[in-house]
């Protein structure tokens, strides 16, 4: 439990170029994520937030640029090292992306089964624990994803992302589609996990409440690059027109008011 240097980057993206056919999504994008912080990533629809997340975890191949996670380049690793690396992060996809033929408990156990050497009884206990921690009722363990609501699927997806106690979690719009109470709980949970576990959180979100409530810093994607990375209070003063309308629109005012 030694205290790590606060500002040490755990993810470093530099000069990233992503394109699909002739459409360029990112060009010369740089971003650093510090250890232990909760980083929110915002941007208009189609600015490539989810693409950035997918590129960092290696689901998309960038056309150019360098991506380092834990000081290693995922693209340049062999299969065994990659597996090792993948155990150190968890991903929550937009719609949960649960395996539809497995129950919720089996979904949470899937990464444990693959990556960790655990006795089955302990695996059941831990799966039950993770499912309870994300706020799902115990009955949900035996249910199939198709029997859950959208919000519950998301929580189950988070439980799976946290199965191996990763150092980084990538969240793709974690609170979208949740009711306000559920979303606030979710925010609180993420913040608590980040505080208690030293978890680094990379969160793509549109939820202004989340930004104000839990993000240490916010990265703004626009014009194919990261326009600014700063605590939210500083971003409010940013002169860029999109940021102005983002932070001074009616919804932002309401979120800020709620915060104060």
């Amino acid at each position: 439990m030694e205290v790590e240097e606060e500002s040490k980057p755990i993810i470093r993206v530099s000069g990233l170029l992503t394109r699909f056919g002739s459409q360029v999504v990112h060009e010369g994008l740089d971003l650093e994520v510090r250890k232990g912080e909760v980083l929110g990533v915002v941007g208009g629809s189609g600015t490539g937030k989810s693409v950035l997340l997918r590129t960092i975890i290696g689901l998309n191949r960038p056309a150019a640029g360098r991506i380092e996670v834990f000081g290693q380049e995922p693209a340049g690793l062999d299969a065994a090292d990659r597996r090792q690396l993948e155990q150190r992060w968890g991903v929550l996809f937009q719609n949960g992306a649960l395996f539809s033929s497995l129950t919720v408990a089996e979904n949470v156990e899937a990464p444990m089964r693959e990556h960790a050497d655990l006795p089955p009884a302990l695996m059941d206990e831990l799966a039950g624990l993770k499912i309870a921690m994300v706020g799902l009722p115990h009955e949900a363990c035996a249910k199939f994803p198709s029997e859950l609501s959208g919000g519950m699927r998301k929580r189950a997806g988070l439980a799976r992302a946290l199965a191996l106690d990763p150092e980084i979690v990538f969240l793709d719009e974690p609170t979208a589609g949740l009711d306000p109470v559920g979303a606030a709980d979710f925010d609180l949970l993420i913040r608590e996990l980040s505080d208690t576990l030293g978890l680094t959180v990379f969160m793509v979100t549109h939820d202004l409440d989340s930004l104000y409530a839990i993000c240490d810093r916010v990265a703004v994607l626009a014009e194919r690059k990261v326009l600014a990375v700063a605590p939210i209070a500083e971003l409010e003063e940013h002169p860029h027109p999109w940021l102005q309308s983002y932070f001074h629109g009616p919804r932002a005012r309401a979120a800020r008011k709620a915060r104060q």
């Binding site: 439990m1 205290v3 395996f99 539809s100 033929s101 444990m112 960790a116 050497d117 655990l118 006795p119 302990l122 206990e125 831990l126 624990l129 993770k130 309870a132 921690m133 009722p137 115990h138 009955e139 363990c141 035996a142 199939f144 994803p145 198709s146 946290l162 191996l164 106690d165 608590e192 505080d195 208690t196 576990l197 030293g198």
Partner: protein, 389 residues
Amino acid sequence: MNSEVATISTAKSKGNHASDTTWLEQGQGGVLHLKGDWTVAHARRIDSLILQARFEPGSVNRLDLAGVTGFDTTGAWLLLKLADRLSVALPEGMAAAPHGVPELVQRVSAARAEPAEPSRRGNPFVIILARLGNATLEAGREAGAMLGFMGATVAAAMAALRRPARLRLTATVHHMERAGLNALPIVGLISFLVGVVLAFQGAAQLQRFGAEIFVVNLIGVSVLREIGILLTAIVVAGRSGSSYAAQLGSMKVNEEVDALRALGLDPMDVLVLPRVLALFLMMGPLALFADLMGLIGGGLMAWVALDIPPTLYVDRLTNAVSLWTLLVGLVKAPVFGALIGLVGCYAGLQTGGSADSLGRQTTIAVVQAIFIVIVVDAIFSIFFNIVGV
């Protein structure tokens, strides 16, 4: 320090971690020292240590966490488990906990307080009986629903006949191309090869009686009446029946079918009718092509292996078969096509929410389509036998 220090974790090192690591160490005055990484990577060993540890009741009243170098939710769970076994109250019984640990333990212990689900298990005999009963009822329901679906499709087709504007012409033509035109090469090739095989095997048997010339009759009648159409039906069921089930199934999973309904469009008109109609129309030409290729394959083999020249082959063929032989085969084609389309669409629309269900429905579409085609073929045979063609 003193002789009472007992190291518990020396026995049995499973896994590849350094075996000199100690996670639990009993100290003086009822203190148990926790050491090392209490993380998921070491969970197996820590768990077995906790389960194996033998302590006098009340011999431990405090857990000292000063030596803990790593901690996560799995560690917190194991710590709670240990405390339970030793009946040490947490967090009071926890000393020198590193930063963040008490909060985490509290969080985990709060989550643990959730009530456990009562397990429901019945008599296995009753369960099997219930499953059998449910499967029977399900099969009956399924047959009824399928018949209903067929009726609904026919009704939609009749309505489209009365008002042709309702018919999706573009979609129908698209499916005719995909299921009909694009299937020509594979249907033709398979029929050709089966024609070759038929000639070869038939000749081998008929040669014994010096009747190899009758191989032409064998090929002509069997290809035109049965083999051409059945092969076509099986290929189309595998190609198009399965693809219809998968298309409609994934549309169902994505709520696209519901979206159509919500837009005031009938999935019957938009999805089912064009597909069924396309197969209804294209099956005949496909079967005709299959017949032709089968005859060519047989003729080629007869020429090569039996020295029956093409002119003689054609001559014998016109004697052996009549137009009726061809028509008896072809009249079945539209019926088979419609059945394959119906079964495929129906199976697709029955898909539940999971990838598993989609796979199952695709299998069902193909297996049921082939089964139904063969049953109907048998019925046709009996019918033709009675009317005497």
